[in-house]
Assembly symmetry: C2
Homo-oligomer: 235 residues x 2
DNA sequence: TCAAATTCGAAATAGTATTTCGAATTTGTA
DNA sequence: TACAAATTCGAAATACTATTTCGAATTTGA
């Protein structure tokens, strides 16, 4: 107990931040290459150049590392998404841009997408909802909630079919695109050899069909209304 | 070295089959409840009532068990699929039936779908392509290859838009539906609390939009009728 | 320069999958 | 029913995991 003031736990924030980065960067690279499950803590420590005992000072478990990386990824995506949509003139164009960005993402960063796929399949279910939601809320408010407004706009200006339930459609379409995207990333080159097309092209076709399905086509106003009645009753 | 004939390895096939079943049934139940990764070999042995040493006589690893269960699941699905499509009169109706069956499946056996999702995310990439393909071929020949023919038919009879590439579209649509289905199964009840709809309903909406996107809207009146006909029949 | 913060080393714990092997039991059949 | 081969049991051993512990050594910022 010296006469000096005792410094609180995180006293060297700059240094701690640097260390944290070293660990996360090493882990991310390993996850990309070997998958979350295929990566051991020993590999992360040796790749990042810190001892296990030190690493556990920063992350209390492997899961915490996964979580941290996921958070950063989602924040990135969100930035890119809101950025890209700025240029698009009207609602349908914005929706198109948003969805096609997911195909670009698959084309450019298949490992990252695969990481998210692994998260969904292995971790999402066991982790507390609140934590998931707090993460999702980093990406939601803009692109997602926004997306259902875009659908509303599209219906109003006649570019989208009038029988769409904006909220339901938004979730359904987003989920289909995200699901397709992540599945393609998981199966990777296996799909290419079997399907004979680059994975991102497959995803682009899915998106095209989905967009066509949302669009208002000629006079199907009648058909549309009819459908929506039937639908609502059956659901 | 008796004078009797030495019996080959699998000499009590009925007994072996019974044992195999005990193990697979126990494992399947555990996988459903705790996930593939959350299930330990120790749990499987104690649940199935055989010793580890015995179990490894039947399956050389946990992966082999996963693999065996996957194979049985796919065979089941295939049977159900071909069965259900028999009733459908024309191509568009068959496609509709096939896709909606995947929503039913999600509604009825979410654990099984989740199992497949985990397989995709964790195992698919690391296992040899040949093995994957030999499995897929159990489900492919009928529903899948068939599916692209259905699209061809649909284009010919005017019910589907003429600018579709049958093979590409088939893979794109199937992948979107499967991807959406498995993602929903992975996220489970989390989606419901957040989205406010039962998961299978979300999937049904994705399917509806995809089907609309494939349909021909060139001749409005016909398109309208065709749509509503299909709808009514499919419900 | 110095006290506190941080890291290192190295060993310990506990939980995995998988293997080994001789003794005990079960199986189908002669 | 008896028997030889097939199968199972038990129990311990191996080799990985993640995670913890703690005292000694080093680094940090004022």
């Amino acid at each position: 107990m010296g006469s000096r003031v005792q410094k609180p736990k995180g006293s060297y924030p700059a240094h701690r931040e640097r260390q944290r980065r070293r660990i996360l960067d090493a882990a991310e690279k390993l996850f990309d290459g070997r998958g979350i499950d295929g990566t051991t803590m020993a590999e992360i420590t040796s790749a990042s150049g810190v001892q296990p005992s030190t690493m556990y000072q920063y992350f209390s478990s492997k899961d915490e590392i996964v979580w941290a990386i996921l958070g950063e990824l989602m924040q990135e995506k969100r930035g890119i998404a809101t950025e890209a949509m700025k240029d698009a003139p009207h609602s349908l164009a914005r929706i198109t841009v948003l969805l096609e960005m997911m195909a670009d993402d698959l084309e450019r960063n298949p490992e990252k997408v695969r990481f998210m796929a692994q998260f969904d399949a292995i971790y999402a279910r066991d982790w507390p909802v609140e934590r998931l939601l707090s993460l999702e809320s980093q990406i939601h408010p803009e692109p997602f909630r926004f997306f259902s407004e875009l659908i509303r706009d599209g219906i109003a200006d006649g570019s989208l079919r009038p029988d769409l339930d904006p909220d339901l459609t938004m979730h359904a379409v987003m989920n289909a695109v995200i699901g397709a995207q992540r599945r393609l990333a998981s199966l990777g080159s296996k799909v290419e050899t079997e399907y004979g097309n680059p994975v991102d092209q497959l995803l682009r076709e899915s998106i095209r069909v989905l967009l066509l399905g949302m669009q208002n086509s000629g006079t199907p106003a009648e058909a549309g209304t009819r459908i929506s009645k039937t639908r609502k009753r059956s659901l």
